[in-house]
């Protein structure tokens, strides 16, 4: 019986895998020629991609990079579907909760985000797997905290099969964890990169140093320095060693004192406030020093 059953099983498995990869052939690109060439055609949409934060304070960078990937993966046409974000409670404690205006600043409309708070990694995986079966979503972000035994080859394989079935990208953000073997299509390590300073030594666009640790479809081990352009929804390469303004910015510079009552000072570039009644609006001043 095993003589006939095993090959039949193998055949059906192979067929399943083919179906999965057929949907996964649908790809998305980074918009950076260098990266896209290395990745071949681009990243598979219906696949699992892992994003590791290299150290504790890099969590936000890894999360930001995953959001950027989710935005790249969303089909450009019409209204993109919602993004489901499964998050472990401990991430909120350790790295802060998601801030909706901050999502908007990266180009992700907060109205598109559905958050599922799970107590443990298992809950996060379960929510992620459940969500990945829904093809109406434009991406699923899975964010467990730390090292956990729950995320193994079987669990990641399940996620990538679910992603392959529905064609929804699965992005797993792994703060406070070190890369482990898994069934992910690609694995990235992300580190914050000093940004290109704006005038007056203000921090610039979000910049990341990304390392492709694993790539099922091609070579791995490449590192790039990119920054995320929210207005165009694409990555741009950061030139190596190009860090203008760093030399002088490190020096102490004189900063004028601000009085509490200078409400109008330089507030022209303050985002149009949502407050209806200006009399009730808080006194907010934003001003860039020119030192």
């Amino acid at each position: 019986m095993t003589q006939t059953a095993l090959p039949a099983l193998r055949r059906s498995l192979a067929r399943l895998e083919r179906e999965g990869t057929a949907r996964a052939r649908d790809v998305f690109s980074f918009g950076v020629p260098d990266i896209d060439q290395t990745l071949g055609s681009g990243l598979g949409r219906g696949a699992l991609h892992e994003v590791y934060a290299l150290s504790g304070p890099d969590v936000a960078a890894a999360t930001g990079f995953a959001i950027a990937m989710a935005l790249r993966a969303a089909p450009g046409a019409t209204i993109p579907g919602p993004i489901l974000w499964a998050r472990q409670d401990y991430v909120d404690t350790e790295a802060g909760r998601l801030h909706a205006p901050g999502l908007a600043e990266l180009g992700l409309d907060p109205d598109r985000v559905i958050i599922v708070q799970a107590r443990d990694a298992l809950g996060v995986l379960r929510a992620g797997a459940e969500a990945l079966r829904c093809p109406a979503l434009s991406a699923v972000l899975i964010e467990p905290w730390g090292e956990t035994g729950a995320i193994d080859l079987v669990a990641t394989r399940r996620l990538s099969l679910a992603a392959g079935g529905s064609g929804v990208p699965a992005l797993m953000v792994r703060p406070a964890a070190s890369p482990k073997p898994s069934a992910a299509a690609t694995r990235w390590a992300v580190r914050s990169l000093p940004s290109q300073a704006l005038e007056a030594g203000a921090p610039g666009l979000p910049a990341f140093a990304i390392t492709l640790l694993r790539n099922r479809a091609g070579t791995a081990g490449h590192e790039w320095r990119v920054e995320w352009n929210r207005d165009e929804r694409c990555f741009r390469t950061r030139q190596h060693g190009q860090e203008p303004g760093r030399a002088h910015a490190a020096l102490p510079r004189p900063v004028g004192a601000v009085s509490a009552n200078r409400a109008g000072t330089g507030s022209t570039d303050w985002p149009a406030s949502a407050t209806a009644d200006p009399a009730l609006a808080e006194q907010t001043t934003r001003w860039r020093d020119t030192g």
Partner: protein, 498 residues
């Protein structure tokens, strides 16, 4: 119905009284049968009672526990009728219109209720009458029992006027006027009574005499539709329970179909033979009536229960009701067999809510405020947006880096800093035991607390976007204006930028 607390076997020998402090003195609030036989009555001072009966078991009145106990008894009574109302301090009203025949008539029903509570060690006084007030008067002041239709005036006639439930001074006034029983009152013309003692007395009298009926206000609103199944032999196996749920859901689905509605909230009540009632509810983001969908939600819910459904010795009644239903039209299924994408997401949210709970599946709504902690709030994803909430997220300015952090700490985290000058960004700061050298900084952006909701002493905050030598971007703020609100301002880290 009157419920008395029963205590452990150790106090069985001694008469039990429950006491509470009234005007500085401990007085008996209620007594058990043994104490009553010894001549102790409610209202007596505890010292007097002790003097008469030294071996008295005394328990302090615990109204919270009494209320909880009454609630539990009310839960139990749900098995006889869905319309149960509390009648504090220790009564329950059951509207059994149209229910009695299910239990073989009113007499059988009364027996059944008495038997079940007697098992639990509770003594009851019950009455069935045409109006709630008549039933209450008969249960509390009369012999109870069943009043035949139209017989309220005759049954309530011999009761004292206190049975009307009027205030003590009115009852006293009536008895001084020689009107001691309800029958004596019923013979009088009502106008002079109303003029002397108020309209309330007349209304109560009419209700007790069955001349005027009112509806009770049930504890739980009557559901839009309901299906239930009694079992002669209690069931305990998961497969049986699931089969029952499926059958009940199919019935419910038919009922909803006839009404052209779908349920938004489903509630299954499992009545255990020992009186425990477990209610498990699932909520959906939009009306549904497909039994398969609801059953799937129930499976998720049952699987995710912290304390699993324990059948004990089995359930002898399973009831399914839909308290909230909304109009639902037939949906056109498109040619490829899928309804629509929006529906898919709503279904997904329902499943996640069933598994993780309503508060754990969230989305953001914008608020009109500059306070970073309040500007976006996470609400349950099933939360009705309300058409009024058309508040848009402020669009980010083109060609600007992100001005708001991706992740926000709540509460802000305290840091140690070395500030450049009193009104500048810090040169370096220590957060979570590691030192960060500030290389780039922008600010301050001053955010004053909202004066109309300010708790006393909330300082103004000066926010800075800073980047350290490793390229990590932080959102720091200094609490308090230097020299004005505080001499030694403290620094906090509020958020992380990507």
């Amino acid at each position: 119905m009157q419920s008395k607390r029963q205590d452990g076997a150790t106090q069985d020998e001694a008469p039990l009284v429950i006491v509470d402090k009234v005007n500085g003195a401990l007085r008996l609030m209620s007594v058990d049968a043994r104490a009553l036989a010894l001549g102790l009555t409610p209202g007596l001072a505890l010292a007097d009672a002790r003097a008469r009966v030294p071996t008295l078991a005394v328990v302090a009145l615990d109204t919270v526990a009494d209320d909880a106990c009454l609630e539990r008894i009310a839960d139990l009574c749900d098995r006889w009728t869905p319309l149960v109302a509390l009648d504090p301090p220790h009564g329950l009203m059951l509207d059994i219109s149209g229910c009695a025949h299910l239990f073989g008539g009113e007499a059988h029903m009364l027996n059944d209720i008495g038997r079940r509570f007697a098992h639990g060690g509770l003594s009851l006084r019950m009455a069935i009458a045409g109006t709630p007030d008549a039933a209450r008067a008969l249960a509390r002041f009369g012999r109870g029992g069943i009043v035949p239709p139209g017989g309220e005036a005759q049954a309530a006639g011999p009761l004292p006027v206190a049975a009307l439930g009027v205030a003590a001074d009115i009852a006293h006034g009536l008895s001084r006027a020689g009107l001691k029983t309800i029958a004596a009152l019923a013979e009088r013309p009502t106008t002079p009574l109303a003029a002397r003692f108020g309209d309330d007395l007349v209304v109560r009298l009419r209700r007790v005499l069955g001349r005027e009926d009112i509806r009770i206000t049930p504890r739980r609103a009557p559901p839009a539709c309901m299906a239930e199944r009694h079992f002669a032999e209690p069931i305990a196996r998961t497969s049986d329970i699931e089969a029952t749920l499926t059958r009940l859901l199919t019935q419910i689905s038919d009922l909803l179909q006839k009404r052209g509605e779908g349920g938004r909230y489903f509630e299954a009540s499992f009545f255990r033979t020992d009186g425990q009632v477990t209610r498990i509810a699932v909520e959906t983001g939009r009306p549904v009536r497909d039994p398969k969908v609801v059953l799937r939600l129930y499976r998720e819910r049952l699987e995710a229960l912290d304390d699993p459904l324990d059948p004990g010795f089995g359930f002898d009644l399973i009831r399914f009701c839909v308290p909230i239903a909304e109009p639902l039209d037939e949906t056109q299924v498109s040619l490829d067999g899928r309804i629509n994408e929006e529906g898919d997401v709503a279904d997904l949210i329902d499943r996640l809510v069933a598994r993780f709970g309503r508060d754990r599946v969230q989305r953001f709504i914008a608020r009109e405020t500059h306070d970073p902690q309040r500007t976006a709030s996470a609400v349950p994803a099933t939360y009705e947006p309300g058409k009024a909430n058309a508040l848009n997220w402020p669009a980010p300015e083109p060609h600007e880096p992100p001005l708001r952090p991706l992740q926000l700490f709540d509460p802000p985290q305290s840091i140690e800093t070395t500030a450049e000058v009193p009104d500048g960004p810090p040169l370096r700061f220590r957060w979570r035991r590691s030192l960060h050298e500030v290389v780039l900084a922008e600010g301050p952006e001053r955010i004053a607390p909202e004066w109309w909701r300010r708790e006393s002493g909330t300082p103004t905050r000066d926010y800075y976007r800073v980047e350290d030598s490793n390229g990590r971007r932080f959102w720091l703020f200094r609490a308090g204006l230097y020299g004005r609100e505080t001499d030694k301002p403290h620094w906090y880290l509020h958020g992380l930028f990507a």
